[in-house]
């Protein structure tokens, strides 16, 4: 019994470690790069996108895990897409109702969560062959990893691009803002430099 419990705990620990570091979607697996580049000009939209992805990941993982015993190979992807699309629409409607300005700022990127490969990856790799609790932990960890990555990039871009953080001035007024940081070029540069730094640190530790 103790061994089983240890095994279970190990699985949960692995799921958390994978989501937050080893298989971190944005920096570890290079997945979900479209929203990563598109919504990280400021922290607020990045955080909102991250929270939406956590919601969709957890809900779709729950649904897929509950359906896993009845899954047929040829309708598997269809079922995943149906489930993900339903929860993305719920998240989109919620934002339009309670955060209309943010919904407008994020534009098509919230509905585009439907095609975010992180979610279908977790449905296929984890939820379709794991129990409910493990699928929930996995969704939370992967979603948190995705959100942390988005926010990390957004912090750098918002500070350098506007001198502000969460729309509050944090740099001296004399700081020359880098307009490019708010543009796609800033997204690619920041992503590239952060990825390079992470790889450098990983090699140093290895």
């Amino acid at each position: 019994m103790a061994a089983t419990l240890d095994g279970q705990t190990g699985l949960y620990k692995d799921a958390v470690a994978n989501g937050l570091w080893r298989e971190m979607p944005v920096f570890g697996m290079l997945l979900g790069t479209c929203p990563t580049l598109a919504v990280t000009a400021a922290v607020k939209p990045a955080l909102t996108m991250g929270l939406c992805v956590i919601f969709v990941l957890v809900c779709s993982n729950i649904m897929v895990s509950l359906m896993r015993k009845g899954l047929r190979p040829h309708v598997r992807i269809l079922l995943f897409t149906l489930t993900i699309a339903a929860f993305v629409t719920v998240a989109d409607l919620f934002l339009r109702a309670y955060q209309p300005a943010m919904s407008e700022a994020l534009g098509p990127y919230v509905p585009l969560i439907i095609v975010n490969c992180v979610i279908i990856w977790r449905a296929e790799a984890r939820a379709s062959n794991s129990g409910l609790m493990l699928s929930i932990v996995d969704g939370l960890a992967m979603g948190a990893g995705f959100t942390i990555a988005l926010c990390a990039l957004a912090v750098i871009r918002e500070i350098l691009g506007t001198g502000r953080l969460f729309e509050i001035q944090v740099m001296p007024t004399a700081f020359p803002t880098w307009a490019a940081m708010g543009m796609p070029v800033g997204a690619f540069l920041t992503y590239g430099f952060v990825l390079g730094f992470i790889n450098f640190m990983k090699r140093k530790r290895a």
Partner: protein, 210 residues
């Protein structure tokens, strides 16, 4: 035949059940959040209309619905607000829809109290290409509709007319002809219908129809 039905049910029952559940979830969410989303849209529309009719102190929807023909030819209820200040009508604001490059373009259009001149338009929502089609939000293009007679507009290419002239000739945005045409199409589609309906209801003075 029976075997085929059995195979179909065995293979697809989960998909059909999941589709039903997802449909129920979406219907319930839409029913719960729909009114709030509509309220947000109305708030945005009236706040944009306030920019077009700065002298207005309040915007009130018309008590009776105005039926117009939509872009697809089907009847629809027009969204029209009466702008008032000190119980006096100072203008009208209405929603117009055009077929843009990516999706429908929702506009709010302002007109003076007699509905004879436009005070301009603003974009409520559009998915036009940034840097190209979304220039319909820019002052350069929007300015061509400010102070012009509320009549039929004609779209011409760049260089064919002076965009600074206050008339019914609209100069298209370079590289965004479809988006430019969508705005003109929305104006030409809704303006005559609304003017006629408001005249019939005695809300604006009778005059020449566009």
């Amino acid at each position: 035949m029976l075997d085929n039905i059995k195979i179909f049910v065995r293979e697809s029952w989960l998909l059909v059940t999941a589709a039903l559940l997802c449909g129920l979830l979406l219907a319930a969410t839409n029913a719960a959040l729909g009114p709030r989303i509509e309220m947000n849209k109305t708030l945005k529309l009236t706040s944009l209309a306030a920019g077009l009719l700065p002298e207005a102190k309040s915007f009130a929807p018309l008590p009776e619905a105005i039926e117009v023909k939509g872009l697809d030819g089907k009847p629809e209820s027009a969204v029209v607000f009466k702008a008032t200040a000190d119980d006096k009508t100072v203008g009208w604001a209405f929603k117009a829809v055009g077929s843009g490059f990516a999706d429908k373009i929702d506009l709010v259009v302002g007109a003076d109290a007699s509905f004879s001149k436009l005070t301009g338009y603003d974009v409520v929502s559009s998915s036009e290409t940034p840097g190209f089609g979304d220039q319909i939000k820019y002052a350069y293009y929007r300015g061509q509709f400010t102070g012009v007679p509320a009549e039929k507009f004609t779209l011409v290419g760049v260089g064919a007319a002076n965009p600074a002239d206050i008339d019914s000739t609209i100069v298209a945005i370079s590289g965004a002809t479809i988006s430019s045409a969508a705005v003109v199409q929305a104006m030409n589609h809704y303006l005559p219908q609304l003017k006629e309906q408001l005249q019939q209801k005695g809300l604006i003075p009778n005059g020449s129809n566009p």
